[in-house]
Amino acid sequence: MDERDRLEFGEFVAARSGALIGLAYVLTTDQHAAEDLLQTALTRAAARWGRIHSAPEAYVRQIMYREQISSWRRRARRRETAMAEPPDQAVVADTGTEARLIVREALRTLPAGKRAVLVLRYIEDLPEAQVADILGISVGTVRSQTSKAITQLRSVLALAGLSSTEAGS
């Protein structure tokens, strides 16, 4: 049984770590932190493989979301706030590519909780109730976090001279 589990786990890591590192990177915005986060989640998946082997990816993703938020809270308590580098003077452009670059940099400045909510809502396309379940928070908190994150991103676009409607054009 243990040998079969080990082989299954190896196949899962080989098949899915490429996709999962992308998620880890969006959550951490740092390559080393992303790899640490993924390794932590996979180690915990290995520890519980007997129970989760039928749907390991959902478990790994949930661990990554929760671990990243916990990690961010621990850093916040220690007042080791990671500050994004101040952006260069904004170059106003109305192309979709440049607008996406601006949004991407703005995403880096969001707290982990808000970023996780956005990833779950916009990349994973999950309903609010499921987002709340994964993150262990209320649906109301999901709504407010989403709203605040969107407002924050829109203000960045506005500062860059791109209104939300211009940005997509």
Partner: protein, 218 residues
């Protein structure tokens, strides 16, 4: 989906594509996971004697009240007073991968998404005779922590391990509970009569020291 939504989605996907492919060893991750799952436990004192003991003999503190009271904790007697014992060894009945619901009888583990439900089988002690970090033996990389019982507790521990060793999974696991938190839950392969046991804490000395710290600061 409206334009700002499209923009956010595109930016998030751009960010995901920036990640470099990780160089992961599934075998290493698997072994680390197994260590986490089954903190190995040895049954003889020989292994401990062969290992080089670090200079970390910890005299444990006297009784203190747990920060997170366990449900109906065993009570020990000390000089005519009854106070909850800070160290408990209890049989695991069930482990769930969710936070303990408010009002439940479960105890949290070191991870927030673990909840242990325990049977009444177990023992409570006020202190170990000694707790010592053992350096990795030759050919291995794992640190161990050795727990030695007071003479009065040895027979109780032998009886407890005999009972657990003959139980089906997960009831063959012994939860080590300190201040209401399950720190480890090794499985017991056989009864242990030598009055001490060792827990493997992994390749990092920091993990062994963290466990030592937990016991030291009761």
């Amino acid at each position: 989906m409206n334009e700002p939504d499209d923009l956010i989605t595109s930016a998030l996907r751009d960010l995901a594509r920036q990640a470099a492919q990780p160089h992961l060893s599934a075998e290493t991750l698997w072994r680390a996971g197994r260590r986490r799952r089954w903190a190995a436990i040895t049954t003889t004192a020989a292994g401990a004697a062969a290992a080089t003991a670090a200079a970390a003999l910890i005299p444990l503190a006297v009784l203190s009240t747990p920060a997170h009271p366990a449900p109906r904790p065993p009570v020990i007697s000390s000089a005519g007073t009854h106070r909850p014992a800070p160290i408990q060894l209890r049989q695991v009945a069930r482990l769930t991968h969710h936070r303990c619901p408010p009002g439940s009888h479960g105890l949290p583990g070191t991870s927030k998404d673990e909840c242990f439900y325990l049977t009444r089988t177990g023992m409570a002690i006020s202190r170990f005779a000694s707790v010592t970090i053992l350096n990795p033996q030759s050919g291995t990389k794992a640190y161990w922590v050795n727990f030695r019982f007071e003479r009065a507790d040895i027979d109780r521990f032998t009886d407890l391990t005999r009972k657990l060793a003959n139980s089906p999974t997960p009831r063959n696991q012994m939860a080590l509970i300190i201040n209401g938190v399950v720190l480890m839950h090794p499985y017991i392969p056989a009864s242990i009569s030598v009055g001490e046991f060792q827990l493997e804490t992994g390749p990092s000395r920091a993990s062994a020291e963290a466990l030592l710290h937990q016991v030291e600061h009761l």
